[in-house]
């Protein structure tokens, strides 16, 4: 009898050790995902992606790319031609060329890419031989530079990360969630890869969801080995599982946006790390019980802007600057689909009605959104069916 009880206890212990990573509590990563509606500002300009058309009809929902050059006051429609983009667009911003990936839709099973070096005036086609994952940071690109050959990363729907040279000609597998776990990075308990970025010297940065409470999953590959470099959450979020929603590198600063879910619900935290420095973690921004992210934007200086909302409620925007705390912004005018943080500290809101785009600007320190631009986008309905 005593032997049986002992065996049972041992079995339970073994099960507990296998299931729960050492010294941590396992948790379920947040369901919250970053939408494709997004914006990014780099030294070469600001890019914004917005869904337009008949948004309740996938075949007549068209994703549009807008560009605003540094110092310019108006956005231009620069959606690359030649491919139906009803599945969505994914931006790969860099210090040089801007790369866009097409989410395959309907019967297409792979992702065409397009790259521009002149703000979207001309595009060069390229190919990813499989389907891009549906995440705003599923694509990362850095051009060749002295001492660095340039590199591209793509997160694909199978959950793997593929890598290519800057020519985008040949893609090879780089890593996956299971490979990260197998590489001894169990401190996170990687559930899925969710965001990519390329750091200085073309070092890949991989943002993941973590089952281990309190750990933000950011990994980098140095010397051929993958290492966890993400920050640890403290305080009320120490028991939360996390998912990296955005990851961007600009001017040697890594900026990230993560969701943390625990007993208190789901929160957003912003994280920053300068090259060679340590992570700064923001205070959490609590979301409503059924809130979803509607848009995210990353500024050149690490500013993050989000638009979130619950079904039936007015969307709410918030912004956070590097090292600061979340600031709620005034509710943007109706139809807001994408928010873009601009270099001058203002925020642009893209409001859409069918094929009409209206841009509203919230100047830094202002409490009112001012209409700054209107644009009729020449959508051809029915062209994708």
């Amino acid at each position: 009898m005593r032997t049986t009880a002992g065996a049972l206890v041992s079995l339970l212990l073994v099960v507990a050790l296998v299931v729960v990573p050492t010294g941590a509590t396992a948790a379920r990563p947040p369901q919250l995902r970053a939408p494709l509606a997004s914006a990014v500002t780099t030294a070469t300009g600001s890019w914004a992606i917005a869904a337009m058309g008949h948004l309740n009809d996938p075949a007549n929902t068209f994703w549009e790319l807008f560009f605003r050059a540094p110092g310019a006051t108006r956005w231009s429609l620069v959606t690359p031609p030649g491919v139906a983009d009803n599945g969505g667009l994914v931006a790969g911003a860099s210090s040089g060329p801007f790369t866009i990936g097409f989410e395959p839709s309907e019967l297409l099973r792979y992702s065409p890419l397009a790259q521009t070096t002149d703000g979207g005036a001309h595009w060069t086609p390229a190919l990813l031989p499989t389907a891009l994952a549906t995440a705003p940071d599923a694509l990362a690109y850095e051009p060749a530079a002295p001492g660095a050959p340039g590199r591209a990363l793509a997160l694909v729907r199978s959950g793997r990360v593929l890598a290519s040279t800057a020519s985008l000609a040949t893609w090879v597998p780089l890593v996956s969630a299971s490979a990260l776990n197998a590489a001894g990075t169990r401190s996170c308990g990687v559930n899925s890869v969710d965001a990519l970025a390329l750091g200085p010297d073309d070092l890949p940065l991989v943002g993941t969801s973590c089952r281990r409470a309190g750990q933000v999953g950011v990994f980098t590959q140095t010397g051929g080995l993958w290492q966890s470099t993400g920050p640890t959450l403290g305080g009320a979020l120490s028991g939360s599982a996390t998912r990296v929603l955005r990851l961007a590198v600009a001017d040697s600063l890594t900026a990230g946006l993560a969701a943390a879910s625990g007993r208190g619900g789901t929160s957003l935290v912003a994280v920053w790390r300068p090259v060679g420095g340590s992570w700064t973690v923001s205070a959490p921004l609590r979301l409503g019980a059924h809130a979803a992210l509607l848009s995210t934007g990353v500024g050149a200086d690490g500013t993050l802007v989000v638009l979130f909302g619950s079904p039936g409620r007015t969307p709410a925007p918030a912004v956070i600057s590097r090292g600061g705390s979340w600031t709620r912004l005034p509710t943007p005018p109706a139809g807001a689909v994408t928010l873009a943080p601009m270099s001058d500290g203002s925020v642009d809101s893209f409001a859409v009605t069918g094929s009409e785009l209206r841009v509203y600007t919230l100047a830094q320190g202002s409490n009112t959104w001012d209409r700054s631009q209107s644009l009729a986008v020449p959508i051809v309905y029915g062209s994708s069916s």
């Binding site: 068209f62 491919v83 599945g87 190919l127 020449p378």
Partner: protein, 611 residues
Amino acid sequence: MGRSPQSGNSVVVSAFHTALIHQFLLLLLIAAVLAIAFNVVRTIQYRRLEAVGRTTFPTTQTWPYPEPAARRILRIGFGLIWVLDGLLQLQASMPLGLPSGVIQPAAASSPQWVQHLVNSGVSIWSNHPVQAAAATVWIQVGLGIWLLVAPRGRWSRSAGLASAGWGLVVWIFGEAFGAIFAPGLTWLFGAPGAVLFYCVAGLLLALPDRAFSTPRLGRIVLACNGAFFLGTAVLQAWPGRGFWEGRIHASSHVGTLTGMVQQMARTPQPGFLSSWVAAFAAFDAAHGWAVNLVIVVALATVGIALCTGRRRFVFPALLGALVVCLADWVLVEDLGFLGGVGTDPNSMVPMALLLVAGYVAMVRLPVPVDAPTPVPEATETALTERRWWERVTPSYALRTVAALGAVAVVLVGTAPMAMAAINPNADPILSEALDGTPNALDSPAPQFQLIDQRGDEVSLANLRGQAVVLTFLDPVCTSDCPLIAQELRQADQRLGARARDVNFVAIVANPIYRSVSFTRAFDRQEYLNHVANWYYLTGSVSQLQKVWNSYGVLVGTVPAGSMIAHSDLAFVIDPQGRERDVLDDDSEPTNAFASSFSSLLLDRIDQVLHS
């Protein structure tokens, strides 16, 4: 993509009418042959009778009873219903409208295995819409005539059995088991399926006459109906199924019955009927609970009374049931057959017939007829030993010939239906319905020299000596091009050994995404990368533009996230390098359409190879 031919498509309707006329002419021929045969038999009979000194035909058939009244009700009633159902199948919308308008909606809420089973029937119909629709007309008209005209005995019982068999096919594949496996099952809307009553009637007709000689059969029929009514009363009373509500919480949402009746009121029908149905919908919306209470009480009362088997209870119950059936048929089922793709008068008429026949079988037993006046020298033994010409009456002979004709009508339907069932490839008519018939050409095909997916140069001149199917595909197209590629792949597979005489060539129809890496990716996506006679060609924009222009293919860049717009054309080029056909191939994303286009293409290829 997504352009389905409408159910009234003129190409299909015209082909349907042509098929019906051809089959009708065939039936006229069969009728003529049978008429001649009848007269030959009559002549032989008369001569043989004359040889034994008789100058008149026999006048009485030797049946111990007249046909039982209940049996006659079933036979004539269901015979007429089958004829009506057959005539309803003549509606122009049947070939294309039946699967999407009747069969699939009937199965939509049933479990997966039911849908799977029903879809196997749908795919037969969808692949061969004209054949199947015409076949159904003749099968059902033939069954009806067979029931109506067949003389008693084996001919008539066989008609009952055939009726039950075809009824079962229709009940399973056409009515998805009368939706008995779907939630929301209710007698009011036709559960357990009108055709199930046809099956029951057919089985009763297949019974020997002696089954009708006692009240037992009638009692069994009524008791089964009673149990059925009780079951439907329970279902109707079950809470949470939406029948107790007329309007839900004063909102715009309505209860199940109101919703259904409102829907029926919107179908095309005479104005007076529509207003009756709409008025009942409004009444039910206002008094849903009371209406359902009346229905539940009526069904339960009728059910209990029928189960007793006692005449004094059964008769009023029968009258009550007929009233309820009539009310439901008019106000809820809306007569069942209006609206363009109505296939039968729904369940109330056959159910009422079955109830009446059951009652008659219980109360009106056949009375033995007086023994026929014996011919002077005949004894009982002699009677049974009489030769056929001594006992077959002209009426029996005529009905036998008529029954043979009816069987011929059924066979005229069954044969093409069986052929359709075993042919997995769709008829070209679907493709022609959507894209029109191929245009015949006879001119030298414009030359081209481009790079294939392997990086090799390919020219039309290299392919001389073999037929070429040439089309234009965008490698990053999301809709039509992958479908066209699959149609070509299917045609190639169906060519079998003849594929060595044919090359399938696609030329890139995208001025931007046109590199070999894209043609390879497209080939991998469409499983064309190992097809030996498949060439996906590309080149510089100017090279491509020249080929597009020479073949009259328009390729245009559309802004704001649209794919490239280009003509969907396929050219059939003969081994001598001459264009012979151009086919429009604006595809529809269904297996039936893909199969249909490949059938059409194969027809054209065969002509080119054999000319």
